[in-house]
Amino acid sequence: MSFLEFIDVYWPRLLSGTGITVAQFFLSAIFAVIFALAFGLMKMSPNRLVKGVAVTYIEIFRGTSLLVQLYWIFFVLPLFGVTLEKFTAGYVAIALNTGAYGAELVRGGILAVPKGQWEAATAINMSPAKRMWRIILPQALVNMLPPWGNLMIEVLKGTALVSLISVTDLMFEAKQINASTYLSAQIFGTALLIYYILARFLLTPFMRWLEAFMARKLGRA
């Protein structure tokens, strides 16, 4: 079977798998940003309980493997009365894992904003919430966008793990096609290429654009 014939036969399954992968990526990314912001800010709280919750979350999810977290959420969480459908369990696990890494980026980005900015905002009598939202966070965002680009690549790569709880993403389809055809080089090679295109030619340029856009918006370009 030539490679073109191979693609001709299997492209619908590859396409639907890619669709699921992209959906998993977007959902994971959105929730990861939310978790990162929430826990990153909580970790900077002067309240020890709030801070403790954030630290515990970050350490647990950074200290264990994504795969372990995924299995735990899918197989063990139901025992606590929380049953997540496999598709949901997939992106929730990825988002929780990524959010823990992202929280550290949020914290780092905020700490990198010069102290004078805090003082200037206080000097014009801004409330702490307004100061954070209007003055500090926009500048922190520009500081932390480059590492977020790398983290987003990790999210995309992380979505491949959801195939192990039978979410029919690209990785899952590739495995199934391999099992029925044994055309391993063709199918796994194609899948690698698709992930590469998503990461290198869609995600990375988008993150670069976002960096440039935010920098322009803040008058730094």
């Binding site: 025992l79 690549i153 992380g158 590739a174 044994y182 055309l183 090679g189």
Partner: protein, 234 residues
């Protein structure tokens, strides 16, 4: 002590069984050993191959630099899980059969060598240009400059990154379970399918990972300080 927390009225399906926990513990300890061996072997490969990839990108040969750069980008942009499958299954198609352990070590070693090559590059680039100029003024060869001046100075700033990827490789070893390497998750899966009990095994696996990776950050920092002191660079 926390029995009230898991009272039946709250979580009817939750039943942690200590006897079962003790029963599976020896198997998990053995699997932990396998996990550590896999991580160490993969890391050893990554350390060496990563240095080759980093130096190749500084060779001055444009074609070589380009090819290696693209390879590194490709490996870093695609899932390790897929790379593990690729290496394990593609070999037999061409008559090369690799054991799960061997293909797993190649996959994870190669994957992390690409990350480590970036760490090395960062370390090498952190050495000020003046050091190269001083080496030229002393008429040293490129090899001597790397060996005597650049690499010793590139190591301390590279240690945090190298340490993080050691922990990273350790946390990625569960992916080797998919091709049958008997590490922690593989063992927990086996226990689950034998007994239909997932709670204890998966929770213990999580605790084992936490217990081993949490102290790592402090140890890495201490090691960096030790190396800097040793080189008189603080």
């Amino acid at each position: 002590m926390f029995d009230w927390l898991f009272a039946e009225k709250w979580f009817p399906k939750f039943d942690w069984r200590w006897d079962f926990t003790w029963e599976i513990l020896p198997r998990l300890v053995e699997a932990t050993l396998n996990t550590l061996i896999a991580a160490a072997a993969g890391y050893a490969i990554a350390l060496v191959v990563g240095l080759v990839l980093a130096l190749a990108q500084r060779s001055g040969n444009r074609l070589l630099t380009f090819v290696v750069r693209e390879f590194v980008e490709f490996v870093r942009s695609t899932p390790l899980l897929l790379q593990i499958f690729f290496i394990f299954y593609v070999g037999p198609q061409f008559g090369i059969t690799l054991s799960p352990w061997v293909s797993g070590m190649i996959a994870i070693g190669l994957h992390y060598s690409c990350y480590l090559s970036e760490v090395y590059r960062g370390g090498i680039e952190s050495v000020p240009k003046g050091q190269w100029e001083a080496a030229t003024a002393l008429n040293m060869t490129t090899m001597q400059t790397y060996r005597r001046l650049i690499i010793p100075q590139a190591v301390p700033p590279a240690i945090p990154g190298m340490g993080n990827y050691l922990v990273g490789i350790f946390k990625d070893t569960p992916m080797l379970s998919v091709i049958g390497v008997a590490e922690l998750i593989h063992t927990a899966n086996a226990i689950g399918s034998e007994t239909w009990r997932y709670l204890e095994a998966y929770t213990l696996v999580g605790i084992i990972f936490l217990a081993l990776s949490l102290p790592a950050a402090g140890l890495i920092r201490a090691f960096e300080g030790f190396v800097r002191r040793k080189l008189g660079m603080n």
